[in-house]
Amino acid sequence: MSMHIEVTGLVKQYPLKAGLFARAKDRVHAVNGVSFSIPRGQTLGIVGESGCGKTTTARLLLRVIEPDAGVFKFEEVENVFSLPEEELKHVRSRMQYIFQDPYNSLNPKMLVRDIVTEPLRYRGNSTRRELERKAAELLEHVGLSPADSKKYPHEFSGGQRQRISIARALSSNPSFIVCDEPVSSLDVSIQSQILNLLIDLQKELGITYLFIAHNLAVVFYMSDTMAVMYTGKIVEMGPSEELYRTPLHPYTQLLIKTLDTEARKDPLVKNDSGEVPSLIHYPTGCTFYPRCPRRQAKCLEAFPPLEGEGIQHQVACYFPGQEQKK
């Protein structure tokens, strides 16, 4: 299968400075060598606890922040990370971002019409009439009415605002959209409207999604492939159904157990300390070691490599597999 998106060895570190002119002594290791690929028209879901590098990864891809290392092959572009700013503009129109908070991501002083067509105006070469027609079209596409184009964001509810965000993302005909917690700030009864809309748009337009959410059940539901991140690394990746049924990494196993509230009686869950190692003094061995029920001396030597091919089931663990039956 040909890949629409291929990311290799993505790294981002933030230097920690003590003073204005001081040299960086330490670094926060935010993303540490992340590689993945997504076939066209499919969804890769990323799960992991806060601070594990999910959002940083997404922002690096769109070059909202610049990576320290890595290669990002996107469609015919060999490496998006090495493009000069001028060329990046053209590539960026094919990549869009849907933010978590529809209250802060829409400019309250702009008409909806101007919000959804802003990406087009930025690129120029559209007349006013074309833009107006396009705005009406986009709004209809996401289930709003063309008459809404002359309103302001505050006149809409959370779910409708998220639809406006989606319309804006669609305006430049992107082939890749990053959805960063698109439903977390919405009411439970509204979430499914947005999830269904995203699925329908993907089927219709063949868009590739990178889907980030902290709600595990939602990510499982939305994704074709899933990546589990821990301390800036992918520890397990594979088709979401397979990952759900036969998780191999102890962290994934722990996460899946938490889907079931009855699992709180399970000693694995009960005794989990939940302590994440420091991202500044990054340990040499496996970062999950302090919490791992299967840890052995070998795990302290080096971080286990992510083994497996392509989009097949891969796991970064020296002792992967089913947990022992008690």
Binding site: E49, S50, S157, G158, G159, Q160, D187, V188, S189, I190, Q191, S192, Q193, L195, N196, I199, H214, L216, A217, V218, F220, Y221, M222, S240, E241, Y244, L254, L255, I256, K257, T258, L259, D260, T261, E262, A263, R264, K265, V269, K270, D272, S273, G274, E275, V276
Partner: protein, 327 residues
């Protein structure tokens, strides 16, 4: 069935704005029993948090409890108590765990000191040293590693999950009879969330307290509650045991909510999620009749005109005209 410890009768709480009077909760009747976890479910704006704030009398200045409302605790009507009496109950008999642990502690004082403050406020005869020992013991009970060291740490030195544990320790400091938990795990990661739930259950068993647990997540409530009450637009629409709510939900709203959320082990190619149409009604402009009728697929004429009361037997009540015959 355990005897009741808190009875909310006909609670109506309104907020006065310049031009409007907005009802947040309307005519709510609820009973919390001893040593029980009552799950209160609902979306934003349905009145979950306002109910807790009304009971604890922590409403903002423009919030007002209707004078016909009663909140009975140990034979006393909390709405009638003087502020001083209320102060002696808050933090002692009735305590609360908020959603955001970072915002619940004072960042300028060590966590242990803040727990000592609560203990000494309610029991001034306890010496500081002894109060500190008690705080350390509480830290141990909520399973914070190295309690004797962590007790001296400031809030920023804790991770989110650990600080939420510390907040629970603070809430438990004076052995409350009722713990109000307002979305205590929503801000936490999945793996730490379950640990906090387990901790609450264990403390409930150990101390015999009751927990009033508010959350928007029905599946989470199913796992820990004895009974669940579903709120919509400021009123109760359904209440029954946690198990029954998931096996036989009666109200169309409850049924729709359960269908609209991806459950574990469902994938998009297998099943399309049910989409509830429309949005939660604006509290200033709630529809006539049943408040859910504009979004309900089973609504008929009567639903638009008259608001149903709670029908059904005591163990399972539902506010829907479909069940008028069962009454």
């Amino acid at each position: 069935m355990n005897p009741s410890i808190l009875q909310i009768e006909n609670l109506t709480t309104e907020f006065q704005t310049v031009t409007h009077r907005t009802p947040a909760v309307e005519g709510l009747n609820l009973t919390l029993r001893e040593n029980e976890i009552l799950g209160v479910a609902g979306e934003s704006g349905c009145g979950k948090s306002v109910t807790i704030l009304s009971v604890l009398r922590l409403l903002p200045p423009n919030g007002r409890i209707h004078r016909k409302s009663k909140i009975l605790y140990q034979g006393k009507d909390l709405t009638q108590l003087a502020e001083k009496e209320m102060n002696s109950l808050r933090g002692k008999d009735l305590s609360i765990v908020f959603q955001e642990p970072m915002g619940s502690f004072n960042p300028l004082f060590p966590v242990g000191k803040q727990i000592v403050e609560v203990i000494r406020t309610h029991e001034p005869e306890v010496p500081v040293k002894q109060a500190l020992d008690r705080a350390t013991e509480l830290f141990r009970q909520v399973r914070i590693p190295h309690p004797e060291l962590r007790i001296q740490d400031y809030p920023f030195q804790f991770s989110g999950g650990m600080l939420q544990r510390a907040l629970i320790a603070l809430a438990l400091a004076c052995s409350p009879r009722i713990l109000f938990a307002d979305e205590p795990t929503t801000a936490l990661d999945a793996s730490t969330q379950i640990g906090i739930l387990d901790l609450l259950l264990e403390r409930k068993e150990a101390t015999g307290m009751s927990i009033f647990f508010v959350s928007h997540d029905l599946s989470l409530l199913e796992g820990i509650s004895d009974r669940i009450c579903v709120l919509y637009a400021g009123r109760m629409v359904e209440a029954c045991t946690a198990k029954e709510l998931h096996t036989h939900p009666l109200h169309p709203y409850t049924q729709d909510l359960l269908e609209a959320v991806p459950r574990k082990g469902t994938f998009k190619k297998e099943k399309r999620l049910y989409s509830i149409q429309g949005k939660v009604p604006d509290p200033q402009n709630r529809p006539t009749g049943c408040k859910y009728h504009p979004r309900c697929t089973k609504a008929f004429d009567r639903c638009r005109k008259e608001e149903p009361e709670l029908f059904g037997k005591e163990s399972h009540v539902v506010r829907c005209w479909l069940y008028v015959d069962a009454h």
